[in-house]
Each structure stands twice: as C-alpha cells, then as structure tokens.
Symmetry: C2
C-alpha cells in the first residue's frame, strides 16, 4: 500500500468537508440561492482580509488576480516599482512588459527579503511611481517580505502598495486596513484549502482613485465592473460555482477556528519545521522565513530534485523542490492550510528518511524530536 | 419534499461520476500524474472539437475564452465584423470597445439568425476586416447561426471566423477542421456537464498567422504561451485542477456514448421539446432553433419571469426566463449535457403544470403526448 500525501505549498490538501460540499448538485448562479451563498462568502472574505473593502472574486488562478492588480490601476507608460525576489516577483516585470508599463525592478538575491531602505530610495528616485508591487510570501523561496514597513513607506507617497498574498493569506496576519495595504491579491488553493480556480482582489480608496484614470485595456478582469456586480451578490461573468460553494465552507472552517488561532497554528508549525530541519544539520534557505512554508538547502552532495522524486516514488509523499535558480538545491516544506502539528511530523519524518535513503548523514529521529520539543514549548 | 432539478442551459446538471471524480484528493499540477490526465484531456478535446489543432484550456469562465479569441489575433485599430443577435453577441462589441478594435456590428433582431448575405456584404464593404465573430448558439435567444455557411464566406477572404460555441460544443456538430472554423471557443459547464471554471480555445493556421502580428496586450490569456506549455502537458498558470480531472471523466463519458450518438440525442430532445411546446399552443421564439435549448414565448397574459419563479418555488424546478429585451417574454428550456428523453418529459410537464397554475389555457398532457410521439418517430 502506498498512501498518497500532498504536502506542497499550493495546491494544498482539500479538507473532506470542502470536497463533499463541492460534490453537491450545482446551483444556478443567477438565483437567490447562489446570492445568499455569495453574500456570506463576501462577508467572510472581508473578515479574512481584515478589511471593510469589497473583496472581488474572479474565476481564475492567482495569476489572473495579479493581472487584475495591474490592469485596473495603471496607465500605459506609468512607472512602477517591483520587488523581484523569486519566480513570482519576476512575474510583475512580465506584466509590466506585456502592458507597456515601466518597471523599476528591485532585485533581491533569492532567499532574501527586500530591504525597506531600497524601496524608500526607489520611491524617492521615482517620485512619479504609481505603485510598489511585492509578494507577502514569495513561494519560490519561502521569503516573507516586510509588508507592514513597506506600507508605511508607500503611505507617505502617492504610490499604492500592491501585495500578492496568494500563498500568505490565511497563514499570517496581513491586516489590510490597519497596515494600509492598498491592493491585496490572493487565491483559493493555498491556506483556504480549495482546488485552484478562484482569484481574489481587494482595493482601498487610494487604489480606487487610481482606477478612475487607469487606461490599460481590460474586460474579463475589470475590477470596477465586478465591484458593481458583486455588491449585488452577483458576478459579471459566470462564477466558478462549485469553488464558491467550497469557499463558503472553507470560510466557515476558518470562523470556527478563529483568525488568531489560525495564524498561531501556522506560526507554531513553521517554528517546529525550522527546528526539525536545523536539528538535522540542514540550513534554512529563507533569510526571512514565512509561516506558510519552510525552505531548506539540501545537504552537500544531495540533489533536492532527487530527494523529492524519491519521496514520492517510495512513499507517496509529495514535497516540492526548487524552481529556476534554486532547482536541485532546495526543497520546500508546506505547513499551509489543512495542516496540523502531526502533518509536520510526517513531513519531517519523510525528509529524515529520504535523506537517509540517499546516503546523507542525518540522525534519524533528531528532526522529529526537535519538532516535538518546539511544539511543547509553544503550548 | 421538494426535489431540486436544475434544467437550465448552463450551468447544467453535473453527472454523479464527475462530482465523485472531482471530490478525489487533489493532485499536484506540476507532476507526471497530472500530465498524464492533461494529455488525455487534450486528446479528448481535439476529438470533441473535431480538429487536429491544440485545444487550449484556461482557468476561466467562457467569457475569458472569448477574451482570448480577441486579444490573441488582433491589433489595435483593426476592423472586425461582429454578429450581434443577443446578449452574447453584444459582448463582442464590448470587447472591441475595451481593446480599441473597430467593430462593424451586424445586428440581428432577437430570435433571428444572421443572414449569410449580410455577412458577405459586410466582408465586401470591409475588405480589411480581420475577423468575423459569431455565436454558434446564442444562449439568450436559442438561435443557431449558420456557421458552416459563414465559414465558406470567410474562407474566401483574409478574415478569420471566430465562433463562440460555449453552449453549442457537444450538443451539435461543429467540425472545426472540415468546415474551416478558424477559432473555436467553448467552456466546460454546458454540454460537458461540469461546474463552471474552464474556458477552451482552438485556433487554426490562418488564425495563428494573425497571432504573429497581433499586438493587443495580454498575459493571463496569452494563447501562444499556453500552446507552448500545453504541448508539454502543462499550463502556463496554475490550472483549475479538480475541473480538469472532471473534464477527463466527462470526455470519457462522451467517448463511451460516441460523438454521433451525443449529437443525435441532443437533436432528438430538441425536436421533442419543440413538438411539446407547440402542442401546448405556444410559439417558439427562435427562428433557427438549436439542438442545445428551446426558447418559447410565454402565452398572452403570462409573465415568463413569474412562471420561472413559480416553478422553482412550488416544485424546485429551475428553468430560466429571458434576458434584457426578452425578459418577461420568453422562457428557455435546456436539453444540454446530462439530459435524456425523460428529463425532457419533466421539463414539458413542468411547463404545462406551471402555465396551468398561472391560469393560462393549456391542455394538460398535450405537450407530453406530443413529445412522446416525437421520440417514438425518431427511434
């Protein structure tokens, strides 16, 4: 028997409750029944985003929501500052190129967060910059960028702060209104535990003001049209109905646990995962580890791709390796969404065993023991 | 007890097999396991589209695939001819406006198909037109536009024929290659019986040639990027994994039934539905009825919205009324996707009973008997 375990930072495992809810007969979207669900979903998303603004729902993957955060707030020829610290940070520059926007790119070495001073300097040197684009958690490196500090910087300028929280929302606090995040983007297949297919975007007053003069062409991802429709608990285009139903259930699970407890759980798992990896003599890859995932350098002589393949082939355990520059060098451990302490033990146990199988020098059980101690200390 | 029945032309009822398949644990999309599924799906879609071209899959509703059919083949300032015979035909003009394309609009009275001669004239008068945009089945009116004839006309010009087959694909034959349809667009929540969230686009050589010089900005819906990725059984952005799994199962069901049988079933149900409605003394709204749906004028003195609401409230039976110009005047009967002859009896029985409840003069059973005779004649 080989039990399959998805332990990746997106898609994440789908809770049974959500799978069963989505398997219910389909409801017509132009109906009071759907509107009642969508109204609850809208309220739940506002709660999760910690905002009083509308949180718009798109039938798209997270990249679609990122595109929406570009085309709805900019004009052709605008200057923007983009933080590029990995595969997802790179994407901002690609949007800029596709839409005729001038990107001032702040490259961070992979594994490092952006320095607030660098953003401050870029804002000073580019006073006409309309926006700063950044990831909360850069999924390719597991780096948490200093969002609260960046929001303080942009608040003093005409630029808006646009945060991709696709893999961060629900794993760590990102109080949109309290911190002054102008645009917050996310998706449903990370902490929310749904299959992919829904993108989210919330925007504050400063961003909606920019929207009035934005002239990049858009139709499917037109935020204003969606806002006007979604305020009536409808969507402009046919919504991904089953995923919206699942989202209603997922937000119920979040409410039952409570936001503080959700964030504490992710933080607790992250600390234990880091403790476990370090107890195995491994080095953390991210200099600013996030609560959503832990990125680890494979030990000398071990190809991380080989480790990842070995774990799936032998034990049905799915981790992910590195992308692009980090390919073969790192592996990424998720503790995001439908994960609890014991899932972290499984992950650590798998890494220990996999490395041991591949001939690396690891003390079997050392990672697990460190994680157990970490959990005990955090109770 | 009130049994809920979704008898609408999209979303359509989800077959139990698909619901169960989609409720299976999620598979990571960057894996050989997903690639095996996606490879089968690609092959199945080519079979369903009756084409040797790539059929691209987007995580979006049908409108997203329509947008893809605009932004990937046109340049700013291009002229296009759009057939506007209803709510979905109107959408072409809105895309044109959003993207700076000049649309020559061929308005058809609601309920009427476009005259091929009108398209021929428009092509003659606008020799620089890059494309003709048309619906196969205009879902707001139930009109089938003469696609085969239009393809013959565009074949003689530099213009491509772009067909929105969102509610037509799988209900009626649209042999893309044999007829010379240049771009064929569809979605998963009509004949394919899935919840909404996947859009499809296939393009032939003439269209890909236009793609080389197309300059409308695009990123999420970039067809060439998707083609390059999907040929490797991957998607550029995170796919709607559970829907892709469901699509694999849906295409299996189509294969089991066979394409000819699927089309014959839809045609048979459409004929019976029309016979049933006419036997009740009702007038068909569409002058060119499609196999996907039957649109019917409510009798004098009956508001079709009231009929639709009454049927759901009293009996849990969900039909849809008219949109915009046809609101209150028509109701729309689906026989699309997971429908068989006996579902058509349910629909007709519901219409008979609902009209009778509302005081309209209908002979109870007359519609049902006519449908039964129609089915018998077609065996």
């Amino acid at each position: 028997m080989k039990k399959i375990r998805l332990l990746t930072p997106g898609p994440t495992p789908v809770p049974e409750r959500l799978a069963l809810r989505m398997a219910q007969p389909i409801v017509h979207h132009r109906s009071p029944e759907f509107e009642a669900v969508f109204s609850r979903v809208r309220e739940g998303l506002r709660w999760l985003f910690q905002t009083k603004e509308d949180v718009l729902v798109f039938a798209s993957s997270g990249t679609g929501a990122m595109e929406a955060s570009f085309v709805n707030f900019l004009k052709r020829g605008d200057a923007v500052i983009v933080v590029d610290g990995g595969k997802f940070g790179e994407r901002w520059t690609k949007f800029a190129k596709a839409y005729g926007v001038n990107a001032v790119v702040l490259k961070c070495e992979w594994g490092n967060p952006v320095e607030p001073a660098a953003v401050e300097r870029a804002l000073r040197e580019n006073p006409s910059a309309k926006a700063v684009y950044v990831q909360a958690n850069e999924s390719s490196t597991g780096v948490y960028h200093p969002i609260e500090q960046l929001a303080k910087l942009t608040a003093r300028t005409p630029a808006i702060l646009v945060v991709d929280a696709i893999s961060a929302l629900g794993a760590m606090t990102l109080p949109m209104d309290a911190w002054g995040i102008d645009v917050l983007v996310s998706a449903c297949h990370k902490a929310l535990g749904l299959p992919p297919g829904l993108g989210f975007l919330a925007a504050g007053g400063k961003a909606w003001k920019l929207n009035e003069s934005a002239d990049l062409p858009r139709f499917y991802f037109d935020a204003r049209r969606e806002r006007d429709n979604q305020r009536k608990n409808q969507t402009a285009w046919t919504p991904a109905i089953s995923l919206v139903e699942g989202l209603d259930e997922s937000l119920k699970m979040f409410r039952e646990e409570g936001l503080t407890a959700v964030f504490a759980r992710h933080e607790r798992m992250a600390r234990a995962a880091r403790a476990g990896m370090q107890a195995l003599g491994l080095t953390l890859y991210s200099k600013s580890p996030s609560a959503a995932m832990t990125t680890v350098l494979a030990p000398e002589g071990v190809d991380s791709e080989k480790l990842v393949k070995h774990l799936f082939k032998e034990y049905g355990i799915k981790l992910v390796g590195g992308q692009d520059a980090a390919k073969g060098k790192i592996f990424r451990i998720a503790h995001l969404g439908y994960f609890d302490d014991f899932d972290v033990l499984v992950v650590i146990g798998a890494v220990e065993r996999g490395l041991h199988d591949l001939g690396a020098k690891v003390e079997l059980g050392a990672g697990l023991a460190a994680a157990q101690r970490s959990f005990a200390e955090q109770r």
